[in-house]
Structures are given as structure tokens and as C-alpha cells.
Subunit: 282 residues, 2 copies
Amino acid sequence: MTVPLDNPQPKLGIIAGGGALPARLAAAAKAAGRAVFVVKLDGHANDPLLENYPQTTVRLGAAAKILDAMRKQDCVDIVLAGKVSRPSFSAIRPDWRATKLLMKVGMKALGDDGLLRLVGQELEREGFRLVGAHEILPDLAVEEGVLGAVQPDEQALSDARHGLIVARTLGQADVGQGCVVQQGLVLALEAIEGTDEMVRRSALYKRDGVGGVLVKSAKPQQDRRLDLPAIGLKTVEESHKAGLRGIGLLAGGTMIIDRDAVLARADALGLFVVGLRADENQ
Amino acid sequence: MTVPLDNPQPKLGIIAGGGALPARLAAAAKAAGRAVFVVKLDGHANDPLLENYPQTTVRLGAAAKILDAMRKQDCVDIVLAGKVSRPSFSAIRPDWRATKLLMKVGMKALGDDGLLRLVGQELEREGFRLVGAHEILPDLAVEEGVLGAVQPDEQALSDARHGLIVARTLGQADVGQGCVVQQGLVLALEAIEGTDEMVRRSALYKRDGVGGVLVKSAKPQQDRRLDLPAIGLKTVEESHKAGLRGIGLLAGGTMIIDRDAVLARADALGLFVVGLRADENQ
């Protein structure tokens, strides 16, 4: 998306979950001279930096309120960003609009990503334009190849590739986005606990010999404009503590938050970070 | 396998991993008037009851020794039973025979079940006959339908069926055999940590409302004669402690160790146990 500087971009609506990404996007948009409005998802958005922007707080289940707020604020471009821990049906407390949506797709919506995909589709149906976080902050994107200074050896690359197959297979069932593989063994699979927790757990099951690899992937069917799996500084620290040797990321299907800092820290700790291409037949 | 009583069955070789199953099989075979010989896998077999039978202890990687022992003991029928925590390549310390095997299939053998499958294939190539544990102890087998006194409600059945799809999808990547699903959400996926540990973890992530379901499944490609996923009394106790409402098991692809005791305890705790048919298109 290239827009001449003398043609200011339209206001950006940010639907914000947890973690640092939503405020980063707000800052990047603002730095580019773009107005922003933030809808914080109640109980999920948790970055105090978001207080610096015009905003409101809405329940995840209050679909009508989210759409109304965005419309009232004249937001056409909308980005969804940040962690949303998957709620149970009863915790969503859907309003009439969300209920209608949920009825349409059934309980499948409560699968790992179903809810997000649903929100995205509904936004587009309502005339909004869904924008990917990497369109706002291009250095989030992961490209193929070794990204830091540390080179993975053959065993590590083999573990990373195996992990990518496992993570994408998981993704077929709309669950999980990560795993830890050591010498061909899958030490841990990520469900709802989050990447950091899974990485910590993997340390309990690690075998002798060279350490394992954390792999993160989008799901094969994942809309690239919706919240992609992301790693940040914490992921690098936890991976190091767990005795891992590096991190494999699906190129074009994952994000690095604070890329420069993340790669510098990985270099310092001796961890590799590699972007992996998905095999077409996976 | 029905054999007239006046035609005694041939000696049974038991390659024994951890847990109670190997000694149960030995007892059942002996009760049926059949001689047994046990090869305990070093570091895996851990049931003191195995001391009651003729036996030897061999490293998992010492394939030649395992074959030699079975041959010397005139065992033709062989059953593999019990937990074998997947070792790293370096921990296997393969002998020349195991190395030849591993070279043949490559590192894939170290996938979750690859090693077992390999041992099974090699046994048959060497003229042994691989026997399923349920052929020795028929009440291990899980049939379709509600097995205990507690009936699952519709939500629970929906969770169980969703869990079966997830577990079988996982199985395609030759990893994991279980998961916990609550109201459509996958709370935990089993990798190498074992079912009990995964069930305990799921309690940390449970949502409000009705509790979840533990699901265990064989892999789609799993040889039914090789060690199938099993539940026992401990699984029932842990599931209850974790707030689960029941257990779903792939019919024909999982085992219940101590069926009567397990179902009685599940009844007493109010947990359902249901055998699920795999959809053909899964």
C-alpha cells in the first residue's frame, strides 16, 4: 500500500487485544501522519501505552458496539492486533449482533481462530477495509532465510522444518500455532497456553544432546491480515532459558515485534532466527 | 484368536515398556496356560510384578539382543506393550542392527511412533508374529458407545467429537494422541509429556461453564497391534481433579487397562466414558 505523502491516509481503527503490538501500530500510524482510533477489547488489551490514543473499551462479544464505534469515528481501515485469549461461549456474552454471527457459523466459531476470522468477515461485509498489521509496520513481516547472525546447523534446520510440518498440521484443525522440536522429537505442542508457557514446559522434557527449536506458523487457511502469530523479546529470552538453539518462523505467516531488538538479543544469546518457506504440499 | 484348550498356544514374548500393561498381559497369558518370556526395556519397564516371570533386560537400542533373546527363548508370538518415552537419538545408542534400521528409515524413525513401528516391522521380517495386546487381554479393547453409567450430554459429545478430529489430525504428523476440549476450545494438546500431565495442565486454562472432555485416539496410520494409547485408573482420577466431565476414546484404537475398575471409578466420580467411531473422512 503506497500512498503519496500529499495524500494523507484515512484514519486507522485498531481493535486491540493484549501485548505490545496494538500500541506499536498506533505509534507507527501516527508517525506516518495518520489519525488513529483504538477499540480496546475488555480484559484483553493491556498495554498502558494505548492510553495515549483516542479510544474506547468494548467487550469482545459486543460486536454492534465495536462496529458503531468505528463508524462513528469515521474509520474505514481497520487492523486487528494483539493477543485475544479464546473465551468460552458463556464468557463472550454475545450481544444480538454477535449472537446472529455465532448462529451463522455455529460453535466452530469458538475454534482457535474462528472468532477472529468471523470478525474480519463481518467488518468487510459492513464496508470496512481489513488491513494487515504488516501493512502498517512493514518490519513485522518475516522473510525466508537466516534473519540474525547465528547460522542454524543441519540438525537444527531439520528440526525447524519438521516443526513447521507439525505446526501446520495442527493448524488444519484450527488449533495451535507452535511447537518445540528437538532432534526430531516433538517436546511440546501449543494449544491455548501461549508460546512462552509452552517453551518453558518443553524444558522439562528435553533430551540429552543438542537443544531444540521453537517453531511458529500461521494456519494454512489463515487470513494474513488477521492477527498472525508473533514473537518478541520475551520469546527469545524464554527460548534461551529453555535450552533451545533457535527459532523457526513461517516466512510470510508470522511476525517479529521489535525486529531489531529481537535479532540483536538472539545474536547475543547465540540463538538463530530463521524464516522458513512452507512446502506447497503441506 | 481362539485356540482349542488341548492345543496349547505357543510361548508369548513380551517386549515391556513402562506401566502396568506388560505384567497384566503376562498374567493373562499365564492364566491361559501359556508360557511367557519378558524383555524389559531398560529405563522404561518399571512394574515390579514383571519380576514374577522369566525375563531379561535390554536397552531399547540393542535391537540384535532383543531379537536374539526372543529366538533363544523360542518365542514366535511377540507383543509390545507399555509406555516408551521417546528417546533422543543419542540416548538410543543404537547397536549395529538398530543403526542399520535407523539408516533405512532416517530420522523420521524418531517421530512419536516411528520407532515402535520399525521394531514391529523388523520383528515380522525376522519371522516373529506380532500380536496385539487386545488379543491377549480382550477386555482392553474399546467399543463404540457409552461404556459406563454416566451419559454425556450434547455439549460433551460435541467436545468429544471435536477432540477426536484434533487428535487424529495431530496423529497425521505422527505426534500426540490426546487433547482436552472444553466447549469447543482446545485447552491442551499432548506431545511427549503424557496424558496425565496434559490433563493436569488443562485445568490451568479451563473456562467458566461446563467442564471439558479428555480425548484419546490412535493415529490414523497406527498399526493396531502396536502399543495403542491407553487409559487407566490414574487417568480417571486426574480427569476428575482437572474438572473434566468425561473421557472420549477412539473405538478400536485405544485401550482401557483394568476396565471394570476404571468404569466403576468413573461412575462413582460422575465421569462418562464413551467410545467414539472415527469418521471415514477424518
